[in-house]
Symmetry: C2
């Protein structure tokens, strides 16, 4: 009965995902081999292939789990804010929290996608993640009443990605606060522009 919850020991699937998360994230999906994962998880190799089918699909499951975690953390952070502007900028507060986690090593989807070959399930997982981020910014910008909410969302997505890159490559967690300040300036500029074009009929 796999639906048993009070098991003393996590299931093979959970142990595999935990080991994959640790090793893949720290060292990269390409350099970490299957053997190390099954050894760290204390799981037979056959179980891995029974449960996931291939290494690519294990990587996909690892990315999807990271995606769910990030989503949860961002949504939890956003509940702390009330005004639309605060909620929009709150995404970068959540990002800053992720950056300061002790074993932070950049955006998992970005590094995994850089190692994946085109069309693999890995790239699909990265695409899903990007779509979620984009939709998040678009919705928040629209709720904030920004006229060109899609344009602002594209700009904020650039800052979000850039902060992830900088936090990893420059080892600088403050990239999130830099991004937040830039996002605030862009938001205010977009609101000003929207007001201006609304006040001045036909430009």
């Amino acid at each position: 009965m796999p639906s048993k919850v009070n098991a003393s020991k996590p299931s093979a699937r959970e142990r595999l995902l935990a080991a994959a998360d640790d090793l893949f994230y720290r060292e990269g999906v390409q350099t970490v081999g299957i053997d190390r994962i099954v050894q760290k998880a204390g799981v037979a190799k056959a179980s891995l292939y029974n449960l996931f089918g291939s290494k690519d699909e294990l990587v996909q499951a690892y990315l999807d789990a990271r995606h769910a975690d990030t989503r949860e953390q961002v949504e939890r952070t956003l509940t702390r804010f009330r005004t639309p502007r605060e909620r929009l900028l709150g995404v970068f507060d959540a990002q800053g929290q992720l950056f300061t986690e002790p074993d932070f090593n950049g955006c998992a989807h970005m590094t995994a996608s850089a190692e994946a070959r085109p069309g693999s399930p890995i790239e699909c997982a990265a695409e899903r993640y990007r779509l979620w981020v984009r939709t998040l910014f678009t919705d928040l910008a629209r709720e904030a009443g920004v006229a060109d909410f899609e344009g602002l969302a594209r700009q904020l997505h650039l800052l979000y990605d850039g902060a992830g890159v900088s936090a990893r490559m420059d080892q600088d967690p403050s990239a999130a606060t830099t991004a937040r300040a830039a996002a605030a300036a862009l938001f205010d500029a977009a609101v000003r522009d929207g007001d201006a074009s609304a006040r001045i009929p036909r430009g």
Copy 2:
């Protein structure tokens, strides 16, 4: 005499770098093996190891060549602009040109660094590249008279990185124009702030 220039055939070193540039950039430094490089270059494997010492150092040379190309293209583009503001934003014009090249596949330093292990010559090359970009933005912002030129440079660097990510992962070359528009807004906001704090003593 290796300094001969009018050779009918490029030297082994040049052929190796050309093959490395093509294969490494298109498929990634990890997935492309030495054998494919020497075969494409028409060069003996021993020559590769005589000339470069190891695969990592060949990757480093490939990244340094890309760095030099990018630098040259950016500097050439910037000569077309006169005002400091135009020159600052011109970096994103140059970036947009790179994005529309037919075989564009993202920032080589970013993808290579994602596959490299810490401390390798690959990471050092990526660090050098990042330092150049940062210095470029810092100098241009200072020449434009921005009070907090370092802060603005950090913000623009985020946009620059984010545009590179988006152009690759979303297959969207217009990321450069989005970044340029955001950069313009941030620049103007920074100039306003600088003026304000200059006008309002100890404000």
